[in-house]
């Protein structure tokens, strides 16, 4: 039947969830409204701004542009899943230490893009970092420090942190 909720089994931040969701629910809707993971932001809803970025099966995607049911059987990581206890992920820590956070709204999406980049390529060139950062818009135009923060995090991660 049209609109009838379907079963969704998805792993989010290491935990398995079994939910029933409407077919038209976006991954963003389910993460924020059902799972209360409000670190996942909701921006333009038309795949332009990138603030809603999460990691889906190891790849950065925009959670406003994926149906929740498309994540069935897959693994999602959000900003809430990065820290290990009290220890922040090196990308998070570098953003704080380097003063790369301005208003903060785009930062969760941006950190996820940076993490996906560094998982795939531990030693990116500045151009590669810029291209990745470009996938999330910053209204404060704070890109320079953000790019530098990703490079600092990359160096620390290569050093085994």
């Amino acid at each position: 039947m049209k609109g009838e909720p379907k079963e969704l089994r998805v792993t989010v931040n290491g935990k398995v969830y079994e939910l029933k969701v409407k077919p038209k629910a976006l991954l963003n809707d389910v993460l924020r409204k059902e799972l209360k993971l409000t670190g996942v932001k909701r921006g333009c809803l038309e795949s332009t701004c990138g603030v809603c970025t999460v990691i889906l099966d190891g790849k950065a995607v925009r959670s406003c542009s994926v149906l929740a049911l498309q994540a069935n059987g897959r693994e999602v990581t959000t900003i809430e899943g990065l820290a290990q206890g009290d220890k922040l992920h090196p990308v998070q820590q570098a953003f704080i230490d380097h003063g790369a956070i301005e208003c903060g709204f785009c930062i969760p999406g941006r950190v996820m893009v940076a993490k996906a980049l560094l998982d795939e390529n531990p030693n990116p060139s500045r151009e590669e970092v810029r291209l990745a950062m470009q996938g999330v818009l910053c209204a404060d135009a704070g890109y320079v420090k953000q790019i530098e923060a990703v490079e600092i995090a990359a160096e620390k991660m290569r050093g085994g942190e």
Partner: protein
């Protein structure tokens, strides 16, 4: 977005059965990077959505010198961009993908979804047209091959029956002494092209005369536009910057671009001149091995 009924078939056959059952009322979603946007805008409101993203059998790439390149319809843009096969044998496809939207979109969006969306501003079609690509379409009643050129029918309309799906893109090996290039006008890298152009130039061995030329424009008409008049100016001629400029003029004269917030039709016509000249020049340099 309107409610719909959702299916996630595991195989191509299962997908085709659903399409044959629901026909016009059904719509396929792959990565959905374009489709969810038009569904949210209310441009389409399918009763049934057939989600094929999970069909791993359509996520592949193969290459050999005789058969050329075969790309499964569900291969993501990012996979194409990063593929060593593509970077070695079809560098232009990788270059095109690098400028297609953002990494997040390329990570989830598929080549097949992009082609079936039928956006005249899309980047892959012009490149695949100059490469003389073909598409394999499948339905319960069989298969048919169609040329990339001619697949686009109008804005967001393609030559696909309601019970058919695109399963494979086939790209022949370019002839020797062929160079191919693609560029588009962007405010920021990854933007949809305000206009775009792809060119393929094949030189005769020895004397450097142009044996064949193909030029295709994006966002220059309601479908990706083959600039045949521009091509004719180049074929059988000794190529030069002057000639590329004339080809740009001819391509621009034949174009009927839209006017919108990104640029007026007049501006786009001027930019078509520039971009045709640029891609033709670059394709020529590549054909000469430079």
């Amino acid at each position: 977005m309107k409610d719909f009924e959702y299916f996630a078939p595991k195989t191509v056959e299962e997908s085709l059965s659903l399409l044959s059952q629901y026909k016009e009322e059904a719509k396929i979603i792959a990565g959905g990077q374009s489709m969810l946007v038009v569904m949210r805008q209310g441009l389409i409101a399918p009763e049934y959505v057939v989600d094929i993203k999970g069909i791993s059998a359509l996520d592949y790439m193969t290459y050999d010198e005789r058969e050329g390149l075969k790309i499964g319809a569900l291969t993501t843009h990012r996979t194409i961009e990063k593929s060593p096969i593509i970077q070695k044998h079809f560098k232009v496809l990788s270059e095109m993908e690098t400028n297609l939207a953002t990494i997040q979109t390329r990570n989830w969006g598929t080549i097949g979804g992009n082609l079936c969306h039928g956006d005249p501003a899309g980047d892959p079609v012009p490149v695949l047209m100059v490469l003389d690509a073909k598409l394999k379409l499948k339905s319960l009643s069989g298969e048919r091959m169609v040329a990339m050129e001619g697949f686009s029918k109008d804005i967001l309309e393609v030559d696909l029956e309601p019970d058919e799906m695109l399963v494979e893109v086939q790209v022949p090996v370019p002839r020797e002494h062929t160079g191919i290039a693609h560029e588009k006008l962007m405010v920021m890298q990854g933007d949809a092209g305000i206009v775009g152009a792809a060119a393929s130039i094949t030189l005769k061995p020895g004397d450097g005369i142009c044996e064949d030329a193909r030029i295709v424009l994006s966002n220059a008409a309601s479908i990706p536009l083959r600039a045949r008049e521009a091509e004719k100016l180049l074929i059988d001629r000794e190529l030069s910057d002057t000639l590329f400029g004339e080809a740009g003029e001819a391509a621009s004269a034949g174009a009927d671009p839209p006017s919108d917030v990104h640029g007026s039709a007049e501006y786009r016509k001027e930019m078509i001149k520039v971009f045709v000249r640029r891609v033709a020049k670059r394709a020529f340099a590549r054909a000469r091995g430079r």
